[in-house]
């Protein structure tokens, strides 16, 4: 990151190589469109390039930081485009673009972690996983979700908190992290 701060494009390229797939996957999951996902990732990584000095290790891994920015940009894209109907990645033939390169140990570990997280989500009561997914991946505010589900706002907020608490306990401290 220090090298990136000094404007070394090669250092940035390493960051891109390491995290672009996760970044694009998240953007694609949220936007449901390759074009929008590309824009989101482009904006996020150029933001990272231009402000690399602002990464602080104490606040988490580089991956967490990168994905936080991607998430932020994706929500901006969703909200400014007023595209709030759910658009699933499978709509565009996700199968064709799944990663096919040889899996390294790191990638294998990430696949395991992904399975753990999916399991934790799957074990939540559906009303809790629903509000979490609508908020995090759909970019909806709690009031929008409340209106959509015809449910009181307080209930929606409560479900979000409860769901995250259950996920947290299900994942276990330190078992899964965005390294």
């Amino acid at each position: 990151m220090q090298l990136m701060r000094r404007g070394q494009a090669a250092a940035f390229e390493v960051i891109y190589e390491r995290h672009s797939q996760a970044a694009y996957s998240l953007a694609y999951r949220m936007a449901g469109s390759r074009g929008v996902a590309e824009d989101v990732v482009q904006e996020a990584f150029l933001n990272i390039w231009r402000s690399g000095a602002r990464y602080e290790r104490a606040r988490g891994s580089v991956r967490t930081w990168v994905l936080g920015i991607v998430h932020h940009r994706a929500i901006d894209a969703l909200r400014r485009s007023f595209v709030h109907e759910k658009r699933r990645a499978s709509d565009e033939g996700l199968e064709e673009t799944l990663e096919t390169r040889e899996r390294t140990d790191v990638e294998a570990a990430r696949h395991e972690e992904a399975a753990t997280v999916r399991a934790a989500l799957a074990h939540l009561p559906s009303e809790q996983s629903q509000v979490i997914e609508l908020a995090y991946f759909g970019g909806f505010t709690h009031s929008e979700i409340a209106e959509m589900l015809e449910t009181p706002i307080g209930t929606v907020k409560g479900r979000m908190r409860l769901g995250l608490e259950k996920m947290r306990h299900g994942l276990g401290a330190g078992q899964v992290g965005l390294g």
Binding site: N47, R73, A135
Partner: protein, 275 residues
């Protein structure tokens, strides 16, 4: 000793929505204020953030198209060269770079970027920031020339005209540009805040090249600017035109090698006449 504020109960259920970026802007700001003084909520936020940070991992992996890296690296390499040219001067305060441009990326203009905040803050501010910007597309700035830091400094150092673009009081107006790109629609929007090229259906520059903006004054060679840019995937772009338009007869755009050129190497693909 109490570990939480008297109003803790009011906010306890907002922790999840806060971390998920689902609070309304005003509520987000109020929660942040509460968070600063409530150790209990602070603890809960830190604890539940672990769960939120794993959510991206649940997403099926999809490979980005190789061309995306090419587009990003073209801009990065260009800006790295500018940064190198600016050298140590690039470490000077950002305010030097931001003086000229109300449209400079909010992140730079304010020094308060998403990256400065914690992931929780990052998410929480999403809605709020968008709304504070009045719906102005945030993506536009990324297509802007401006690596505010290095570019503006470089222009200043080189005797360029970084600074306030237009004299006050000028009425906003739009000029339709001519373009060599079939089907492209490019307009030059001029206001007292500056001039911006707004492109639609514009093809991306050829591989390994970037678009560069030039200012052409009568009897003079085109003056290079720091505006190096590419298009979004849908062919759109919003590009701030740096420097004063005083005496400029045409704003030109050519495609140039990464890093830009001192003089155009190709005929312009866009020509806008501000007068």
């Amino acid at each position: 000793m109490s570990t939480h504020r008297p109003d803790h109960a009011q906010w306890a259920d907002s922790v999840g929505a806060y971390l998920l970026g689902a609070l309304e802007p005003v509520e987000w700001e109020r929660f942040e204020a509460h968070l600063a003084e409530c150790p209990r909520c602070l603890h809960d936020v830190a604890d539940l953030r672990v769960a939120v940070d794993t959510l991206p991992m649940s997403v099926p992996l999809v490979s980005p198209p190789p061309a995306l890296k090419g587009r990003i690296m073209a801009v990065v390499n260009s800006e790295a060269q500018l940064l190198a040219a600016a050298g140590q001067r690039a470490d000077v305060s950002e305010t030097v770079a931001t003086g000229r441009d109300a449209d400079v990326p909010e992140t730079v203009a304010t020094g308060r970027d998403a990256d400065e905040r914690s992931p929780a803050s990052d998410r929480g501010r999403v809605g709020g920031r968008r709304r504070r910007l009045g719906g102005r597309p945030l993506g536009g700035w990324l297509m802007r020339p401006g690596v505010a830091l290095a570019c503006a400094l470089l222009l200043l150092a080189g005797g360029g005209a970084a600074g306030v673009l237009l004299s006050g009081g000028e009425e906003p107006r739009t000029v339709v540009a001519t373009t060599q790109a079939p089907g492209a629609d490019v307009r030059l929007k001029i206001s007292e805040d500056g001039a911006t090229l707004v492109a639609k259906n514009m093809p991306a520059p050829p591989s390994g090249r970037v678009y560069q903006v030039w200012l052409k004054r009568p009897g003079q060679d085109p003056e290079p600017t720091s505006s190096l840019w590419s298009t979004r995937s849908d062919g759109s772009a919003e590009v701030a035109v740096p420097g004063s338009l005083d005496g400029v007869e045409a704003v030109l755009v050519t495609d140039e090698p990464e890093g830009g050129s001192a003089a155009p190497t190709k005929p312009p693909v866009i020509t806008a006449t501000p007068a």
